[in-house]
């Protein structure tokens, strides 16, 4: 299962709820305003680091760059481009969008 989140962790609980439901074997992809959850010192920092012990967490590079956050990414979070986004969707049997 690929979990895709696109909302800021301050705006809604989508990131928190997604991380609480993501299991080993799955993956989390943060896009749009959810890329703030992948930055050091944000409210979801601890939850992201905890999730990284169980499964890969990805953040979409173009969304990080647009927001000036490319240098603030939490260690262990993997940055992917649009091609990487497509690969992740193709690699997982199912995708779930947390809006």
């Amino acid at each position: 299962m690929l979990h895709i989140v696109n909302k800021s962790p301050y705006e809604r609980n989508s990131v928190a709820s997604c991380l609480a439901h993501a299991r080993k074997g799955g993956a989390v992809l943060l896009i749009e305003d959810a890329v703030y959850a992948a930055t050091r010192g944000n409210v979801a920092d601890g939850a992201i680091r905890k999730a990284l012990q169980e499964l890969p967490v990805y953040a979409l590079g173009p969304d990080l760059e647009a927001r000036g956050m490319q240098a603030n990414v939490i260690e262990g979070v993997q940055v992917v481009d649009f091609g990487g986004f497509v690969d992740l969707v193709a690699e997982h049997r199912t995708s779930q969008s947390w809006l």
């Binding site: 930055t39 010192g41 173009p62 647009a66």
Partner: protein, 134 residues
């Protein structure tokens, strides 16, 4: 009779000078609020009003330095914040608590601002005639 621009302004309440504050609470790009808010600020500046901008909650993300939108293929409107000075919009207040909660330092912001605490921000809001939120 042709009305002059000043006469039209007079009839429209020209000469009235109010304190306007635009409160920005949304991150850029994920929604249209930040860009639309900026457009309204620029319009209001043309009416010679006392304009200030407040940035709190996710709004502080609007001012982060180094925004590059080429790969996303959307307009990078962050340079516009630097142009505000040219429109006599010089009062930019950023809430300290919002910066700290996001791990953002003042030196990561793209324009000079006044960093204020929530209490001072509340006082500034109290001093306004009109507050418009985005």
């Amino acid at each position: 009779m042709t009305e002059t621009r000043d006469q039209i302004a007079e009839q429209a309440g020209g000469g009235v000078h109010k304190k306007f504050m635009f409160v920005n609470r949304k991150a850029p790009y994920g929604t249209i609020y930040a860009l639309e808010g900026l457009e309204v600020v620029l319009i209001s500046a043309a009416f010679d009003q006392d304009v200030s901008l407040a940035f709190l909650d996710d709004g502080v993300y609007q001012l982060v330095k180094g925004q590059q939108t080429k790969a996303l293929e959307v307009k990078n409107f962050s340079p516009t914040y630097r142009a505000l000075e040219g429109y006599d919009v010089e009062k930019l207040y950023v809430e300290r608590e919002s910066l700290e909660a996001r791990g953002i330092r003042e030196d990561q912001l793209l324009v000079p601002v006044q960093v204020v605490g929530a209490e001072e921000m509340a006082q500034l809001m109290d001093q306004q005639d009109v507050i418009i939120g985005f």
